[in-house]
């Protein structure tokens, strides 16, 4: 049996949501992956800025945080074409 301390469900959910947010912003708002950002200048917009861009696009409250409404939109089935850029 795993020796790792079992992750509390809410922490597990939190991790899942963070991953969902990162993947979504990488797919549709050109958030650079960790690998990409390691080699690029540090002036990339952090995740919060990209999250705000997405909230502005969808007319959500611009909090920069993955709140309930924002996560609800991110879970909706959608087109795979990015919302900004080519």
């Amino acid at each position: 049996s795993s020796s790792a301390f079992p992750v509390a469900p809410e922490t597990e959910d939190e991790d899942k949501n963070i991953q969902l947010v990162k993947t979504y912003l990488q797919n549709f708002y050109k958030l650079e992956t960790d690998k990409q950002s390691r080699f690029k200048s540090k002036n990339i917009k952090p995740l919060t800025e990209k999250l705000k861009e997405m909230q502005v696009f969808f007319g959500l409250k611009v909090t920069g945080k993955p709140d309930v409404d924002t996560l609800e939109v991110m879970k909706k089935p959608r087109c795979g074409v990015p919302d900004i850029g080519q």
């Binding site: 007319g59 795979g80 919302d83």
Partner: protein
């Protein structure tokens, strides 16, 4: 609407398309029809002409793919993102790839192929995603009955910015998305639902909890895919926890998010004479268990317990509801008052003193 970065467009007006393979979810004739109908959405409002070819390279190649299909944009399995398309250019430009892991249909279950193709062709022609939640080019999927579908004005404006108008002498127009705080906002119907308020307009409804400030604009089809747009009257029977929605001479019954009957019922079952073709507004008086139906300048009263119309109706609205003229758009009871909506104005009627005690904007509940 948003044009794709760099404003890519096809220089020719005559474009070809080819359906490279088919999804096993639908019969191929329905796939052909859905795709053809999707192209017509755009050719109707622009000078573009689309022709199907059956082999070789077409400008727009349409295919169903799974997972990593060698275009540097692998699919992600069921749901998530459903499809993608490439902007105008030679080679892969214009092509549309569907994720075969989705369930493609010609109805409201799964994902409606026609609606998704129509959206993707917007990308193939040079449009990006729109921020207008009612636009076809909005990023998230929402179902509309294909026979009721009309290309929204936002999308028409977008494609005509890129390619100009169609040769059609009558310029087609499309539906626009209502703006919550538009002071000219009017409603088709209003009803309470389990303590919330539902304001219906075209294919949308606003959900408002009286104690909350936010108000949410949704597609009716998001909650009830089998309901039509353009609901004309609505009321809640709180005792039975049911909502009755009326359009023309039919009505639907909801219990929460479920349709109680799969098919609409006839208003004549309620006791209306055949010369009544539609209902303008309705509300249920919780205190008496009577439902009031408004048609033109008259109203009927229906006894929910006896499940039949009361005798001696219809009567003139003005005789019972002084200050309320005819052609009411919507009505509902909340607390001791009855709220009547006529155009952009809302009349708060106190049945105890039998008169209007306040006049407000129709969208005053939205805290604009």
């Amino acid at each position: 609407y948003v044009l794709t970065d760099g404003n890519p467009k096809w220089e020719r007006k005559n474009l070809t398309y080819r359906i490279v393979n088919y999804t096993p979810d639908m019969n191929s004739a329905d796939v052909d029809k859905a795709i053809q109908k999707a192209f017509k959405v755009w050719s109707d409002v622009s000078p573009l002409i689309f022709k199907i070819i059956y082999d070789g390279n077409a400008d727009i190649m349409i295919s169903f793919e799974t997972g990593d299909h060698r275009d540097n944009s692998p699919f992600d399995g069921p749901d998530g993102f459903l499809v993608h398309a490439f902007q105008p250019r030679n080679g892969i430009g214009g092509d549309v790839h569907f994720d075969e892991a989705e369930y493609w249909t010609k109805g409201s279950n799964g994902y409606n192929l026609f609606l998704v193709v129509a959206h993707e062709l917007g990308h193939s022609l040079g449009l990006s995603h729109s921020t207008d939640p009612g636009a076809l080019m909005y990023p998230t999927y929402s179902y509309t009955e294909p026979n009721e579908f009309r290309l929204p004005q936002d999308d028409i404006n977008g494609i005509q910015t890129v390619y100009g108008h169609s040769g059609n002498p009558i310029q087609p127009t499309g539906p626009t998305t209502p703006v919550t705080c538009d002071h000219k906002l009017t409603f088709d119907a209003v009803a309470t639902m389990r303590g919330e308020l539902l304001f219906f307009k075209d294919r949308y409804f606003w959900r408002k909890h009286p104690q909350m400030t936010e108000v949410q604009l949704n597609f009716i089809s998001l909650f009830w895919p089998n309901l039509p747009s353009g609901i004309q009257a609505a009321y809640e029977n709180t005792e039975r926890d049911q909502i009755f929605l009326f359009k023309e001479n039919k009505y639907w019954v909801l219990s929460g998010y479920d349709l109680v009957y799969n098919h609409p019922k006839s208003i004549y079952d309620l006791g209306f004479p055949k010369n009544v073709k539609r209902i303008n507004a309705a509300f249920n008086d919780e205190n008496s268990g009577k439902t009031y139906f408004f048609v033109g300048g008259k109203y009927w009263r229906y006894d929910e317990n006896r499940q039949s119309m009361d005798q001696g109706y219809p009567k003139k609205i003005i005789d019972e509801f002084r200050g309320i003229s005819k052609n009411i758009d919507a009505a509902f009871q909340y607390g001791r008052y009855i709220y009547f909506f006529i155009g952009t104005r809302q009349f708060q009627f106190d049945p105890n003193v039998k008169r209007v005690v306040s006049v407000m904007k129709s969208n005053s509940w939205f805290n604009c």
